[in-house]
Symmetry: C2
Subunit: 198 residues, 2 copies
Amino acid sequence: MNYTAADVKKLREETGATFADCKNALSDSKSWDDAVKFLEARSAKKAEKMISAGRETKEGGVFSYVHHNNRIGVLVELNCSTDFVARSEAFRNLASDIALQIVGVAPTYVNFEDVPAEVLEEARKTIAEDPSLARVPEARKADAIDGKLKKQFGEQVLMMQPFVKDDTLTVGDLVRKVIADTGENIVIRRFSRFALGE
Amino acid sequence: MNYTAADVKKLREETGATFADCKNALSDSKSWDDAVKFLEARSAKKAEKMISAGRETKEGGVFSYVHHNNRIGVLVELNCSTDFVARSEAFRNLASDIALQIVGVAPTYVNFEDVPAEVLEEARKTIAEDPSLARVPEARKADAIDGKLKKQFGEQVLMMQPFVKDDTLTVGDLVRKVIADTGENIVIRRFSRFALGE
């Protein structure tokens, strides 16, 4: 497509990609939306690569947020691989966004994998007895139960929650975005949330 | 004893008692040390009275401390009975002192009663097999074991730890001092301590 310098600037602001990447995406795409999708897919692929590389995440930081009336507070540990990224603005902004999310939406777990097996098993049983499942063919029943399970626990799982500041993203999407931007794996290790008297 | 206005001032600074209490303590006591002891005993008695009154402690606040390098952080909930005390300087200073203590000394439990029964039982068994106990008369053995148990877990129990800023006090003493000063029961409800990568 034909594009102007203003388009490149706008695309950079929208996607956070580099100047060269935005230029290439625009010249190689048929439309604006295609260019955005291309860059998003590229960013997701980069994030996956960083996550699956399995590099140790022993750096990072401990961050807190306490509401001004002292009635609610959050402590969160966010890990990455180098002190350089730990001190970056992107990493610190992510930590602050995550703390805000935890204050607002009160998740119970960081990842779906953190839901205890016995809790999952109990929920799986209840779902299996649900009359709506009777109409699902036997071959697709296990998948249907898993889907309902993820939906049910998704609200309690931080990484699966819609991000409070932009609900077109999940918190997991937000983390993967910063992974792609910083080029380093980032892991939410643990959190505590205290609400006064709760 | 004979005393001057300067003595009253000094005693107030040392004990935190009121002007009238300090004057009375000095005029009724034979020595400076007696006056200090009298006021301390009075304060302890007042604290015990507040604690045993069993008034609900549903106010207070959540406080955090994060070290400037973000490698360690603490979240603590401190309860009292009224919003008035929750907003007082004495209460806020106590919260800050407790957070500092947790950062520095890393307790595991708030109170001795929070140590799980099975952990205590295990430790009790190990202590009972200690050869040094063989010399203790049977009638005093249970007390001796309890003493060793409290000593062993005292290091892990926040309320029993020597206060980092003044090791002539335990954290429990510090809390009781603020209870006497504010005239309201104060309870350390819970805490979290995250050290990066621990």
